[in-house]
């Protein structure tokens, strides 16, 4: 069975009846490895369409998932269940649950260590009968940039649950088992925030998703904030890690900030060394996010990429037909219509009409690296989304969300095509733009190959750059 991968969460969707005989066929070690290779940081089994399961069946999944967690540190567990199924799982495993339970896939995304950009902090109502789980849920949510409202009693929860204006999401009948070891990452505006805690030592290099960071640099992020309120101390290995990160980011004009770090148990000389390496220290997050001028200077307000003007290279241009074919074939598949190539040019991205246009981008890295940008007229974007959404929609958020999936499909296709020619690449999380001006300021003066395509009289733009 193949997993659906979105926002770095891989979810398997078995259907029907699950017991000790059928479960080994539904989820195999090969399925797990194939999903792990997609660089996910959470792997779940959805029970939404499972009408019956017993402990033998569930055990097959649990054993596979737990061994994956032990090997990789990924968050593993189940999602999309009702109250009855939740009670059954608790009954089966009572005091020995090592996996996580998320009532819905949406709840699981709140705990993913890599979150898509969101416009504002979301309030999350939290309830669990066990106080330690309650606290764990709240802490993990807070670390991921949410605003948890923790209920201390069931009555309080019932009361607040009915006040729907109080919260945007609700977390109950969920359980945190063995959590991932990756550093939580979230995107606020154009800043990427990493949350650190405890003692920082050599392990930080394993916990930090360096490819995600590098790709964020590649796609234009320049402000990276380490939330270090909960850091107790750091040693020389962590110091070296930050120094290297600052050096690597300098090429892109990136600013790396550490917020809330106290040096009570860390040699103060470390701070000087890190400042010499270019890191900036702030006492509170508000000192950065609340200061618009500073935010603009640091590049966290959507400003242009300062220094990344890497040229297209021959290898990338040679692979261009594969990129274009993957895009055209996917567009044709999604819209059930034919595309016609209009013109191709190598230049900076030129969009003559920016009104009623949406865009999405995705980076890739490995044997070759670069970024694919797609600019859609609203009508084509809506049509492309119908196959995935199942209906026409004018909701821009839904369309952008689907465009992100769409560009993921294209990147997945390119990845497969390149693999046939022994070129190995991985892909980043997709990014979407409601405003093309924002995209233009991000790609700034980067040169690339622009291909304009015609879909039923509407012009669609493909742009490949580095």
């Amino acid at each position: 069975m193949r997993a659906v991968v979105k926002n770095k969460i891989g979810v398997f969707h078995p259907q029907g009846f699950l017991d000790g005989t059928t479960a080994p066929s539904l989820l195999t070690i090969e399925d797990i490895h194939a999903t792990e290779a997609l660089n996910v940081n959470m792997m779940l089994v959805s029970l939404e369409k499972v009408v019956y399961f017993n402990k033998n069946g569930l055990n097959v999944f649990v054993e596979l998932l737990e061994s994956l967690h032990l090997k990789t540190g990924l968050i593993v567990g189940f999602c999309d269940y009702d109250d009855k199924k939740y009670a059954s799982i608790l009954k089966f495993y009572h005091n020995a649950i090592n996996f996580s339970l998320f009532r819905t896939h949406k709840v699981a995304t709140l705990f993913s260590s890599s979150m898509q950009e969101k416009k504002e902090k979301k309030s999350v109502l939290v309830w669990h009968e066990d106080p330690s789980q309650r606290s764990a849920l709240a802490i993990e949510l807070f670390d991921r940039g949410h605003d948890p409202i923790v209920c201390q009693t069931y009555d309080e929860f019932n009361d607040k649950k009915n006040q729907t204006d109080l919260y945007e999401s609700i977390v109950y009948n969920s359980y945190l088992g063995m959590l991932g070891s990756k550093i939580a990452t979230r995107v606020t505006g154009n800043a990427i925030i990493y949350t650190l805690s405890g003692f920082l030592d050599a392990e930080i290099t394993n916990q930090f998703d360096v490819t995600y960071h590098n790709n964020s640099l590649n796609v234009g992020f320049t402000l990276f904030i380490f939330d270090a309120y909960k850091v107790i101390s750091m040693n020389i290995h962590a110091l070296n890690f930050f120094s290297k990160l600052a050096t690597a980011g300098a090429e892109f004009g990136a600013n790396i900030c550490i917020v809330g770090m106290t040096f009570e148990k860390t040699p103060p000389a470390f701070k000087d060394e890190l400042e010499d390496a270019g890191l900036l220290f702030f006492e509170s997050m508000d000192d950065i996010l609340g200061d618009k001028e500073l935010l603009k200077d640091l590049g966290g307000s959507g400003g242009a990429t300062k220094t990344n003007k890497r040229a297209l290279n021959k290898v990338l241009v040679n692979e261009l037909p594969r990129f274009i074919n993957a895009t055209v074939n996917t567009m044709e598949m999604m819209t059930n219509s034919k595309a016609q190539k209009q013109d191709v040019k190598i230049d900076t991205l030129q969009i003559s009409e920016t009104k009623d246009r949406l865009a999405s981008s995705i980076g890739f890295y490995g044997n070759i690296d670069g970024m694919v940008i797609l600019v859609f007229p609203l009508s084509i974007a809506k049509k492309s989304c119908e196959l995935l959404l199942g209906e026409e929609t004018d909701n821009v958020e839904d369309i952008l969300d689907t465009l992100a999936e769409f560009v993921n499909i294209i990147a997945g296709r390119v990845k497969a095509l390149l693999a046939e020619h022994n070129i190995s690449v991985d892909i980043t999380l997709p990014r979407t733009y409601e405003n093309v001006d924002e995209l233009l300021s991000t790609v700034n003066e980067r040169k690339g190959v622009q291909v304009n395509l015609d879909f039923e009289g509407e012009s669609f733009t493909f742009f490949l750059t580095r």
Partner: protein, 267 residues
Amino acid sequence: MITQEEIQTYISSIPPSPTILKSVLKHIQEGELSKAANEASQEPALKVYLQAIVNKPIYGFKNDIKDVGQIFGVLGLVQAEQLVYNYMISLLSPSQWELFSLTNKDFADIQDILGLQWKRILEYKNITDKTLYSAISLLPASIIVCEALFKSKRDEVDLLRSVKDIDYSTILKRLTGMDLFDLCQTIASTWELPEIISKVVLASSGCSDEKDKEIIELSKWMHLLFFYQLSQAVCVEAGLNDFIDFNIDYVSDIYEEFQTIIMEENA
């Protein structure tokens, strides 16, 4: 990916039902088993099919039965009709399965198991309308139609399904306005199967507009039975577990009864 034209091409490729089968079915429906057996004996492929099926362990006969008259005799009218319909559907199956990891023997086994369990359900519900016993025969046609339409589109579908939990029938519906069950209905219509059969099968998709309470009730049982079968190892390994969407809410009110009749009996 799949266009209206491709759907039309597929529909026009459905052959008319063989005259001899029509005749066999007519005799069975009139209660003339010996005449039906005589006709069926004239069709060597049908004869071999019946001999192979009826001597499988799941039918539980101690001795090999070779003669078509004997086969129809031991099966009775209801099962004889069901098997002839199963044979008709199997005529549409590909010589080589590509999308699903199936063999024609696997497919025939799925038909047989569904047929026997459907019979058990109808007997439990005291349903005497013989036509309804054969309704189950049309259901696996959805697998054949899916194989035919999507076998060359596997990579595209895999890509689509890597970002969204979406089944083949829904993809087809969104692209062409027709789903796999609509196409089963078209097959039923081309072969002049009784209307009640296509109605029950269409409703068993779990998302039809059917209003008739009796048909809805039966279709729930059929939907759940199909997913019970699609959860079995042979179907999961063939890639059939999620080829259509399981509507768990649609069957919630019959689930406990189903457990008693089918699951506990099979345990």
